[in-house]
C-alpha cells in the first residue's frame, strides 16, 4: 500500500480561512436543521410535554423523571435488550459479516455473476422503505407467504413465532449492501502479493484474514460498524412488518419511541428515550474503538 494518506500539513494549500469557507455551508445547515432541533428535543426530554391535553397547554419541567420512568419501565428494558440483540444480530454479525463475505468472494471476480449479486444486494438497499414492508409481508405471511409455499410449511407464522429473528433477517437483507461496498473498496487496498506470500507460507483463509487482511482494513471495519450500528439503532422499518408485536417481542427502541411519542402523545418521554438511544450508541462506539484501536492511539489520531 502506498503511503498516501492525508498529510499532517495542507497539501492543497487550502489555508485555514478557505477551509472554513468550505465547511461553513454544511455547518450552517447542520446547525440550523440538526443541532438546534436536536438540542430542543433533548430539552423536551426534561418536560412532561404532550401533543394534546392539559400537558400540551402548560408543559412542566420534570427534571429526570422521564429517564427514571424509562429505566424502571420493564417494557423499556425489554425493548433495550431486543434492540441490542437486533443491532448485534442484524448489523454487526449479519450485515458486516455477510457484506464482508460477499466482498471477499467477489473480490477478483468480474462479469455477469458479480454484477448480478451486486445488483440484487444494492436493489434491496435502495428500494423505498415504505415498499419493502409489503415485500417482506408477502414473503413471510402465515397463510399465503412465498416462504411457506417454498418450504412446504403451510401456516408457519414466522412473524409471530420468531419475530426477532424475522426482523433480524429482514435487516440483513435490507442493509448488507453498504457493508459489501465498503469492504469491497477496502479489500482492493490489500495487495494480492501479501495474500500470496501468506498462502505460500501455509496460512489458511482464516489466518490470512486475521494476519494480513484485518490489520489493513481495520479503519474501514470501524467506520462500517459505527455507521451500521447507528442506522440500525434508528431503523423504524420493522414496525411495518410486526408493529412491534406480538406482545412487544419485536418492539425495538425506535418503535417504542414511536408508540409512546406518536401513538401515546407523550413527546417528553419519547424525547428522553431518544436521548438514551444516543447514549447507548455512544457506548457502542467506545466499545468498537477499544476493540479495533490496535496500534492507533485514538479517534483523533491520524488515520491508520
Amino acid at each position: 500500500m502506498a503511503p498516501t494518506t492525508s498529510p499532517p500539513g495542507d497539501a492543497a494549500g487550502l489555508g485555514k480561512a478557505r477551509a472554513a469557507a468550505f465547511v461553513l455551508p454544511a455547518l450552517v445547515l447542520i446547525g440550523v436543521f440538526l443541532v438546534f432541533p436536536a438540542l430542543w428535543t433533548i430539552y423536551l426530554g426534561l418536560t412532561d410535554y404532550r401533543l394534546t391535553g392539559l400537558a400540551a397547554a402548560d408543559p412542566q419541567v420534570v427534571g429526570l423523571d422521564n429517564y427514571t420512568d424509562a429505566l424502571t419501565d420493564p417494557r423499556f428494558l425489554t425493548s433495550l435488550w431486543l434492540t441490542v440483540a437486533y443491532v448485534g444480530g442484524s448489523a454487526v454479525i449479519g450485515q458486516a459479516g455477510l457484506g464482508f463475505t460477499l466482498a471477499w468472494i467477489l473480490r477478483g471476480r468480474t462479469g455477469p455473476v458479480r454484477r448480478a449479486v451486486e445488483g440484487v444486494v444494492l436493489l434491496s438497499w435502495i428500494l423505498p422503505s415504505t415498499v419493502v414492508g409489503f415485500l417482506w409481508f408477502a414473503l413471510l405471511d402465515r397463510d399465503d407467504g412465498t416462504l411457506n409455499a417454498l418450504l412446504h410449511t403451510p401456516g408457519l407464522a414466522w412473524l409471530l413465532d420468531h419475530p426477532l429473528l424475522s426482523i433480524i433477517v429482514f435487516n440483513v437483507w435490507r442493509g448488507t449492501a453498504f457493508s459489501m461496498m465498503l469492504y469491497s473498496a477496502a479489500l482492493e487496498n490489500v495487495p494480492p502479493s501479501h495474500l500470496e506470500t501468506a498462502r505460500l507460507a501455509g496460512a489458511g483463509v482464516p489466518q490470512q484474514l486475521r494476519d494480513v487482511v484485518l490489520p489493513l482494513i481495520r479503519r474501514h471495519v470501524l467506520t462500517n460498524l459505527l455507521l451500521i450500528s447507528l442506522w440500525t439503532f434508528n431503523d423504524f422499518t420493522p414496525f411495518v412488518l410486526t408493529g412491534g408485536g406480538p406482545e412487544g417481542r419485536s418492539e425495538i427502541l425506535p418503535v417504542y419511541v414511536y408508540n409512546i411519542a406518536l401513538k401515546g402523545g407523550e413527546l417528553g418521554a419519547g424525547a428522553a428515550v431518544s436521548f438514551l438511544i444516543l447514549l447507548i450508541n455512544l457506548i457502542f462506539a467506545l466499545a468498537y474503538l477499544r476493540l479495533l484501536r490496535g496500534r492507533r492511539k485514538s479517534l483523533t489520531g491520524p488515520p491508520a
Binding site: R50, T52, A55, L160, G243, G245, P246, E247, L262, G265
Partner: protein, 455 residues
C-alpha cells in the same frame, strides 16, 4: 470535468425555483379564503368524502357567497398521523378554518386549548342553527366536552355481531339469531366448531388490532357486564365487570373458539375480514362499517357477492339479561367524526357559515350520494336509511342502547392498557392476573389509585 458544475447549478436552480413556490394562499384584494381540512383524499382513503367537498361543498358554497374562495386540504392517512398534523397546526396558530376530527379527540384538543366552543368562535348565530333540533342528543355528544359544544357530528355508527348464515345452517343454528346472553354466543360457537368452522368467533383482542380491540371487543363487553370505562371522574380498574370481560375472552380461547394468532398479526384485522368473507369465521363483532365497506358486494375490500342473503346481524347481548349498563339487555359502542372551527380562523363567522352549510340537510344528503350511511340528521336518516335494512336496524335498534368513549387525552393510553390485558389472556395468562396488571398500569397512567375504581 463538467460534473461538479452541474450538481451545484442544479442545486442553485432548485433552491431558486422552490423558494418561489412557498406558502401563502392566493391573497386576493378583498377576497376571503376559507380552508377545509379532512382526513380524506381523492383516489385514496375516504375518497368519496374528498370528492364531495371538492365537487359539491365548494362550488355550492362559493355560489351563494361571492368573494369567498374555499380550498380543500386533504390528508387520507392513518388516524394518529392525521391527528399529529392537525395538532401541530393548531398549536402553532395556523391551520384550516374547518377541521375534521375524530369525536374522541375533542376533549384532549379542548384541554390543550387547540379548539374552543363553537359559540366562542362562530358567535351567537351558532345557537340558533336549525340543525341542532335534527341531531339526537346522544349523537351531539360526540362533539361535546365538559358540557360545551366544540364540534358538529358528521355521523355515527354502531357495533353488532355479524354472523354467516350459511355456516349457521350447517351447524344447525337458526337463520334469525339473537343471543340473549354471553353463554348463548359461546354455545353457538361450540356448534360452529363441531360443524368444522375453523375460527367460530372473532372478537378482536390484543395490541396489534389497536383501537379495534377496544372498540369492537373490550368496551362493548364491558358495557354488557354493566360498566363504562370512565364514570364520574374515575376510570374502571380491575373491577368485577372487567374481570368478567377478560374471563369471557379466556373462555373463547381455552375452548378453541377463536384463533389466537390472528390477534397478534400486524394485519390481523384485515385478515379477519378476509376470513369472514371466505366462510372461515362464523361470528364477528364489528361496526356497520364492516357491512358498508368491507363485505359490500361491489366495492368492498373483502366483497361478499351474497352479502344480503348470507350475512345476518344481531345486537350484542349483556352478560345476562338486564345486566348491561343502565340495566339494558343489549349494548353497543359508537363513535364518529366531528367538524370543528379553528379558533385562529381569520373569518370565524364565515367559517361557521361554511361548517353549518356542510351539515345542512341538502349537504348531508349530497354527501351520502345514494349510499346508505347513518348521518347525524334525523330528517336525512328517515329519508335514506330505508334503502338499507342493516343500517336502519342500527339506527333504530342499536343507537338507543349505545355508549360513547370518554374524550380525554389519557384515553388512548388506557385503551392500550385494555388491549394489553386482552393480549395477556390470549397468550394464555389468567384473567385475574391480567386484570391485576391492568390495574397497576392504569393507576400509573391516570395519576394514582384515587382516579380508579376497583373491586
Amino acid at each position: 470535468m463538467t460534473l461538479p458544475r452541474r450538481p451545484a447549478a442544479i442545486a442553485a436552480l432548485t433552491v431558486l425555483a422552490l423558494s418561489s413556490c412557498g406558502t401563502g394562499a392566493p391573497a386576493g384584494t378583498e377576497d376571503v379564503t376559507l380552508i377545509i381540512a379532512a382526513n380524506s383524499i381523492s383516489g385514496g382513503k375516504n375518497s368519496e368524502s374528498a370528492d364531495w367537498i371538492k365537487r359539491w361543498v365548494i362550488p355550492e358554497f362559493e355560489r351563494t357567497h361571492q368573494n369567498v374562495k374555499v380550498l380543500f386540504q386533504p390528508s387520507g392517512v392513518n388516524d394518529e398521523q392525521y391527528k399529529t398534523k392537525i395538532a401541530l397546526d393548531l398549536k402553532s396558530g395556523t391551520g384550516a378554518d374547518v377541521i375534521d376530527l375524530d369525536g374522541i379527540w375533542v376533549g384532549e384538543f379542548a384541554q390543550a386549548g387547540y379548539v374552543k366552543p363553537l359559540t366562542d368562535v362562530g358567535g351567537p348565530t351558532v345557537d340558533s342553527w336549525e340543525g341542532w333540533s335534527q341531531i339526537p342528543q346522544a349523537v351531539q355528544g360526540l362533539g361535546i366536552f365538559d358540557g360545551k359544544k366544540y364540534g358538529l357530528p358528521q355521523g355515527t355508527d354502531g357495533r353488532v355481531l355479524f354472523y354467516n348464515k350459511t355456516l349457521f345452517a350447517k351447524a344447525g343454528l337458526p337463520e334469525a339469531w339473537q343471543p340473549k346472553n354471553w353463554e348463548e354466543i359461546v354455545a353457538a360457537g361450540q356448534k360452529l366448531k363441531a360443524a368444522g368452522v375453523p375460527a367460530p368467533i372473532q372478537i378482536n383482542a390484543g395490541t396489534a388490532m389497536g383501537e379495534a380491540t377496544t372498540m369492537q371487543g373490550v368496551l362493548p363487553l364491558l358495557a354488557g357486564a354493566g360498566s363504562e370505562i370512565y364514570t364520574d371522574g374515575k376510570w374502571t380498574g380491575a373491577s368485577q365487570p372487567l374481570k368478567d370481560v377478560l374471563a369471557f375472552y379466556q373462555q373463547l380461547y381455552s375452548a378453541g373458539l377463536s384463533d389466537p394468532k390472528l390477534q397478534q398479526e400486524a394485519k390481523g384485522r384485515d385478515k379477519s375480514f378476509a376470513q369472514f368473507a371466505a366462510g372461515k369465521i362464523g361470528i364477528l363483532a364489528e361496526s356497520d362499517y364492516f357491512w358498508r365497506s368491507v363485505i359490500e358486494p361491489k366495492a368492498g375490500v373483502a366483497p361478499m357477492a351474497d352479502r344480503d342473503t348470507a350475512v345476518g346481524y344481531a345486537k350484542i347481548p349483556a352478560k345476562t339479561p338486564g345486566g348491561g349498563i343502565r340495566g339494558q339487555d343489549f349494548v353497543s359502542m359508537s363513535g364518529g367524526a366531528v367538524r370543528v372551527l379553528n379558533p385562529n380562523s381569520k373569518n370565524p363567522k364565515l367559517a361557521w357559515d361554511l361548517l353549518a352549510f356542510m351539515h345542512s340537510a341538502a349537504a348531508v344528503k349530497s354527501q351520502l350520494a345514494g349510499q346508505a350511511r347513518i348521518s347525524p340528521r334525523t330528517d336525512v336518516n328517515t329519508e335514506v336509511l330505508g334503502a338499507d335494512p342493516m343500517l336502519e336496524y342500527v339506527a333504530e335498534e342499536v343507537l338507543p342502547v349505545t355508549a360513547y368513549r370518554p374524550g380525554l387525552a389519557v384515553y388512548p393510553q388506557v385503551s392500550v392498557a385494555l388491549q394489553e390485558a386482552t393480549a395477556a389472556v390470549v397468550s394464555g395468562r389468567g384473567a385475574d392476573e391480567a386484570a391485576t396488571a391492568y390495574q397497576s398500569k392504569l393507576e400509573g397512567l391516570v395519576g394514582g389509585a384515587d382516579h380508579v375504581t376497583a373491586g
